[in-house]
C-alpha cells in the first residue's frame, strides 16, 4: 500500500540521482506520504521504538567491541576496564546491557499488541512470521551477549542453555561439543559467541527490512482490525506518525534514562560481577529476566528432552497462530471471549516469568506446571473460540467509528452501542 510516488523535485542534482536510483521517491512513498490508518493508538509506537533500540544496540555494541577482549582470562577484566578507564565506557556498557532489556520490553509489548488486535491475520501472516524470526534471533543474540562479560552467570547460563541440546536423541552430545568447541564452555565458546553476537544484529537488520517490506505492502492493522475503505480512513505517515513516534520516543527515552542512570544493575544479577569459575556453581542459575517464562516452561517438564521440546514449542507455536485463530474478526475489541482469553494468557506469561526466577522447589514446581499447561491451552482452545464466539458488530469503517466516538480516539464506544451480530 506504499503510495504511488507523487514525488517531484526541481533540484537538478536530486533529479539526476532520482532518474538513476529512485531513492527519493522511495523514501517519499514509504515514510512521508505512506498512507497509515488514522486511528492507531499508542501501542503502535512500539515498532519504531524497536527499530531505534536495534540501532542503539548496534552503535553502542560496535564501540564496546573496540575495548573488549574475547578471552577467557581477559574478558571480565576488559569489561571492568570499560567501566573504569574508557571515556564514558560505563555509559556505553550500561546503555548496551539495559538497552537489551528495554529492547525486549518493547518487543514483548509489540508482540502482545499484535496478538490483541489480531495483526497476524490475513494478509499479514508473513509479516508475523518475520517478527517471530526477529524475536528468536534477538533471544539468541541476547543470550550470547550475556556470556561475554564472563561472569559467573555468563558462564553457568551458557553451560545450562547449551547443554539443552544434549537432549537431542543420538547426536545430542556431539551437537553440544560442536557448540562449545570443546568439552566444556571455555575459550573457544566465548570466542565464537563473540563473533556471532557481532554478526546477529546485522542479520536481524536484514529480517527487519523484510518485516517492513511486508508491512508496507498492506499497511498497518489498526485497533478496530477492519480494513480501510478509502482515503478518508488514512492519513500520511508524515507528519502525523513521525511526530507521534518522536513523542513516544521521548517518553520511552525518559524511562530508559531513569533505569540507565539510577538503577543500571537492577535487571542484572549480582553473581555476574563474580568472575567465571568453572569449579564453583552458583546456588541458583537464572537467565536474564526476558528468558524467564521460557525457562519456567523448560523446567516444568520432568523429562529433559520434552522440556526442551516444550520450550522451543512455546516459541514455534506462534508461527501457526494465524491458523489456530479461526475467527474472521481481528481486533479483540469485538471478541469478548478472546479478550478474556488474551488477558488470561498475558497474566499466565507474567506468572511463568515469576516462577522462572524462583528455585524449582515446593509450590513453584506445581505452579510452573500449571502455568505451562495454561500457556499451551491458550493455543489449543483458540480454534474453538472462533467457532462459538459471537463477535460484536464491527463498525462500517474507520472514519465512522472515529466520528461516532466523538473524536476521542477511543472507538470502543462505537462497539458498545452496536448490537451483537447474529
Amino acid at each position: 500500500m506504499s503510495g504511488h510516488s507523487s514525488f517531484e523535485s526541481n533540484n537538478a542534482i536530486v533529479k539526476w540521482i532520482e532518474y538513476r536510483l529512485p531513492i527519493f521517491s522511495f523514501i517519499h512513498s514509504s515514510a512521508v506520504v505512506y498512507p497509515t490508518p488514522k486511528n492507531l493508538n499508542y501501542w503502535w509506537n512500539m515498532g519504531s521504538l524497536a527499530g531505534v533500540m536495534l540501532v542503539l544496540q548496534i552503535v553502542t555494541g560496535i564501540i564496546l567491541a573496540m575495548h573488549y577482549t574475547p578471552h577467557a582470562d581477559l574478558a571480565f577484566a576488559s569489561t571492568e576496564h570499560i567501566m573504569r578507564d574508557v571515556n564514558y565506557g560505563w555509559l556505553l556498557r550500561y546503555m548496551h546491557a539495559n538497552g537489551g532489556s528495554m529492547f525486549f520490553i518493547v518487543v514483548y509489548i509489540h508482540i502482545l499488541r499484535g496478538m490483541y488486535y489480531g495483526s497476524y491475520k490475513a494478509p499479514r501472516e508473513i509479516l508475523w512470521w518475520m517478527g517471530i524470526i526477529i524475536f528468536i534471533l534477538m533471544m539468541a543474540t541476547a543470550f550470547m551477549g550475556y556470556v561475554l562479560p564472563w561472569g559467573q552467570m555468563s558462564f553457568w547460563g551458557a553451560t545450562v542453555i547449551t547443554s539443552l541440546f544434549s537432549a537431542v536423541p543420538i547426536v545430542g552430545d556431539s551437537i553440544v561439543t560442536f557448540l562449545w568447541g570443546g568439552y566444556s564452555v571455555d575459550q573457544p565458546t566465548l570466542n565464537r559467541f563473540y563473533s556471532l553476537h557481532y554478526l546477529m544484529p546485522f542479520v536481524i537488520f536484514g529480517v527487519v527490512f523484510v518485516h517492513l517490506w511486508a508491512l508496507h505492502h498492506h499497511g498497518s492493522n489498526n485497533p478496530l482490525g477492519i480494513d480501510r475503505k478509502g482515503p478518508q480512513d488514512s492519513i500520511p505517515f508524515h507528519p502525523y506518525y513521525t511526530v507521534k513516534d518522536l513523542y513516544g520516543m521521548g517518553v520511552f527515552g525518559t524511562i530508559f534514562a531513569v533505569v540507565l542512570f539510577f538503577a543500571p544493575n537492577y535487571m542484572g544479577h549480582p553473581d555476574n560481577y563474580i568472575p567465571a569459575n568453572p569449579l564453583v556453581t552458583p546456588a541458583h542459575i537464572v537467565p536474564e529476566w526476558y528468558f524467564l517464562p521460557f525457562y519456567a516452561i523448560l523446567r516444568a517438564i520432568p523429562d529433559k528432552l520434552f522440556g526442551v521440546v516444550a520450550m522451543f514449542g512455546s516459541l514455534l507455536i506462534l508461527f501457526v497462530l494465524p491458523w489456530l485463530d479461526t475467527s474472521k474478526v481481528r481486533s479483540a475489541r469485538f471478541r469478548p471471549v478472546y479478550k478474556m482469553l488474551f488477558w488470561a494468557f498475558f497474566i499466565d506469561c507474567l506468572v511463568l516469568g515469576y516462577i522462572g526466577g524462583k528455585p524449582p522447589e515446593g509450590i513453584f514446581i506445581v505452579a510452573g506446571r500449571l502455568a505451562t499447561a495454561l500457556y499451551f491451552l491458550f493455543f489449543l482452545v483458540l480454534p474453538f473460540i472462533g467457532w462459538f464466539e459471537r463477535p460484536k458488530k464491527l463498525p462500517d469503517s474507520i472514519s465512522t467509528a472515529v466520528l461516532d466516538s466523538g473524536g476521542g480516539g477511543a472507538p470502543d464506544g462505537a462497539a458498545a452501542k452496536a448490537e451483537d451480530r447474529g
Binding site: 493508538n41 555509559l91 514483548y108 518522536l246 521521548g250 525518559t254 539510577f262 563474580i274 541458583h284 524467564l292
Partner: protein, 256 residues
C-alpha cells in the same frame, strides 16, 4: 497523555515482577540491616572522609587477606587525596618490575600507575594461609552480592554466638547474614580495630560503615559521574518530551 501514562504504567508493571529474578540463597538468611548511604539516591555522592577512612581500614585490616586488584594508586586521587599523598601511599608498597637490561626482575617502590598488590601470589597460597578458604578480591564485592552495601555492613557487624543446637565447624564462625550461616572469615572489625587519622570515633559500626563506603566507591568509581549526568539527561528528556507532546497535539488537531 492519559493513555501514555497507562502505557508507561503497563510497561513498569510488565517489567517489575520479571525484573527481580535475584533469588537469595537459603531462605533462612537474615535480612540485611537498612543503612542510609550518602552515595545512595538520585543525588548521592561519596562521603569523601568516609571513603578515606575506609581506605585506612582496608589497608590496616582487610588487605592482609583480600586483594583490590581493579584499583590503582592513581585512582586514590578521585577520593580526595592529593598527588603527594597518593604517591606516598604507593611508595609504601614494593613492586616487582622488569626484566631489566640484564634480564633480571627487580624490586622498586610503587608508583601511581601501579595497581594495589594482592596479598597472595595465587589461589593456592591464599587457601593454604586461610584454612582452605579463599578470601575473594574486594574490588567488585558491593556489586557482586545481593543486598549490596547493606549486606556487607550487616555481615561485618553481624557476627554472633551460634544459637543452641547449631554446631559451628572447625575454623568457621557464626554469622546470621551469611548464606549457610557459617563463614570462614573471623570477625574482621571490632571496636578500636583502627585508630583513625582524622580522630573519628572508631566504633565497630563506624569502621564497618566506612570500609563499606570505600568498597562501594571501589566497585563503581564512576557512580557520581553517572548520577550527575542522569539528573541532567532526565530533566532534558522531560522538557523535550513535553515539547514533543505539544507538537503532536498541534499536528493532530485537524484529524478526526
Amino acid at each position: 497523555m492519559r493513555k501514555f501514562f497507562l502505557i508507561a504504567a503497563f510497561t513498569a508493571l510488565f517489567a517489575s515482577p520479571l525484573a527481580t529474578p535475584v533469588a537469595l540463597a537459603a531462605g533462612d538468611v537474615e535480612h540485611p540491616l537498612e543503612i542510609k548511604w550518602n552515595h545512595g539516591g538520585v543525588f548521592g555522592t561519596f562521603d569523601r572522609a568516609a571513603v578515606q577512612r575506609g581506605l585506612q581500614v582496608y589497608r590496616e585490616v582487610c588487605s592482609g587477606c583480600h586483594g583490590l586488584k581493579y584499583i590503582a594508586f592513581r585512582n586514590l586521587l578521585e577520593i580526595g587525596l592529593n598527588e603527594d599523598q597518593a604517591k606516598a601511599i604507593a611508595a609504601e608498597y614494593t613492586m616487582i618490575d622488569g626484566p631489566d637490561n640484564e634480564g633480571e626482575m627487580f624490586e622498586r617502590p610503587g608508583k601511581l600507575s601501579d595497581y594495589l598488590p594482592s596479598p597472595f601470589d595465587n589461589e593456592m597460597a591464599a587457601r593454604a594461609s586461610n584454612n582452605g578458604a579463599l578470601p575473594p578480591d574486594l574490588s567488585l564485592m558491593v556489586k557482586a552480592r545481593a543486598g549490596a552495601e547493606n549486606y556487607l555492613y550487616s555481615l561485618l557487624v553481624g557476627y554472633s554466638d551460634a544459637p543452641d543446637g547449631v554446631t559451628v565447624a572447625e575454623g568457621m564462625n557464626y554469622n546470621p547474614y551469611f548464606p549457610g550461616h557459617q563463614i570462614a572469615m573471623a570477625p574482621p572489625v571490632d571496636d578500636e580495630a583502627v585508630d583513625y587519622i582524622d580522630g573519628t570515633k572508631n566504633s565497630k559500626e563506624q569502621i564497618a560503615k566506612d570500609v563499606v563506603t570505600f568498597l562501594a566507591w571501589a566497585a563503581e568509581p564512576t557512580l557520581e559521574a553517572r548520577k550527575r549526568m542522569g539528573v541532567k539527561v532526565v530533566l532534558y528528556l522531560l522538557i523535550l518530551t513535553f515539547v514533543l507532546y505539544l507538537v503532536k497535539r498541534k499536528v493532530w488537531a485537524d484529524v478526526h
